[in-house]
């Protein structure tokens, strides 16, 4: 019952897909952002696992930077959400659809 890299990667893939489903089905922007966080986390697992099995640090590095990016995105994203909420009074995606065609 050896846990190999495959396990981690499959887990990563599954979590990624869960995040993907979330992105596709969420209509609330805030919760949609959660889903993107899940995706990034899933990738982090993959990076950490691969790095571990190669005994290489680059994977961890990438994961580290992904966390940084995620944090930045949250900052910007929340800023946007706030201003959007102020203007539209809602975070529902269907409301924010004045531009189309």
């Amino acid at each position: 019952m050896e846990i190999g890299i495959g396990h981690y990667l499959i887990l990563s893939g599954i979590l990624f897909s869960i995040g993907f489903v979330g992105v596709l089905r969420r209509k609330n922007l805030l919760m949609l952002f959660f889903a993107t966080e899940i995706m990034l986390n899933a990738v982090n697992i993959a990076f950490a696992a691969i790095g571990n099995y190669y005994g290489d640090l680059s994977g961890q590095m990438f994961a580290f930077f992904i966390i940084a990016v995620a944090a930045s995105e949250v900052a910007v994203g929340l800023g946007l959400l706030i201003i959007l909420y102020k203007k539209y009074g809602s975070l529902d995606l269907d409301v924010i659809s004045t531009m189309k065609g």
Binding site: Y8, I10, I38, M61, I83
Partner: protein, 194 residues
């Protein structure tokens, strides 16, 4: 065996928690399960020997990011259940399932190459007499990845500025939609200052 048990516990738990995040109608549940899931992921990192990463995950994600989300949630007064219209849930799950299937199929193949030499092997710091993941990470981060690190700093600065501008007062009054000319605006601003 220990790894086996730990992995499956973490794996199953995160999967369930993230599923809750994605499926729950309640923002609070959703967010809480997300935070919990992330904590568990840091456990996976520890399992994988990425101690530093695990810590960062805990601090940055669970500490900072989740705090931000929580703050935002309060701002949006989103404690109530969220009503979402799902037009084609089945399709979404089908797509997600398909995606997962492809990943499973893909990752069942061996990905690790036999002949690949690690470029920045774990245990770098051993040569210097020190030990532990943090030092290794530090060593690589501040040599090889110094530039990305600095750029990340800029990125965070950008994010900060962006957050300040977007959420701050500056956006409350739109100059774009104001018909007044520059001169008139100056007068107005001066009046306000006075």
């Amino acid at each position: 065996m220990y790894e086996f048990v730990a992995f499956y516990i973490f794996a199953i738990a995160t999967t369930i928690l993230f599923l809750i995040t994605v499926m729950s109608k309640n923002v609070l549940y959703s967010m809480t399960s997300l935070a919990a899931g992330m904590v568990l992921i840091s456990g996976l990192f520890f399992l994988l020997g990425a101690d530093f990463l695990g810590v960062v995950q805990l601090i940055v994600y669970v500490g900072a990011v989740m705090a931000l989300y929580a703050f935002a949630m309060m701002f949006f007064d989103a404690t109530k259940d969220v009503k979402e219209k799902h037009g084609n849930s089945a399709l979404v799950f089908l797509l997600g399932g398909l995606m997962a299937l492809v990943f499973v199929v893909m990752f069942s193949a061996p990905i690790i190459g036999e002949n690949i030499q690690a470029l920045y092997p774990v245990g770098l710091a051993e040569n210097l007499g020190a030990s532990g993941n943090s030092q290794d990470v530090g060593l690589v981060l501040f040599t090889k990845y110094l530039v990305p690190f600095e750029v990340a700093a800029v990125m965070l600065l950008v994010a900060m500025i962006a957050g300040i501008i977007l959420a701050g007062k500056k956006m409350d009054y739109s100059l774009t939609e104001c018909e007044a000319s520059d001169e008139e605006l100056k007068q107005e601003i001066k009046k306000e200052e006075v």
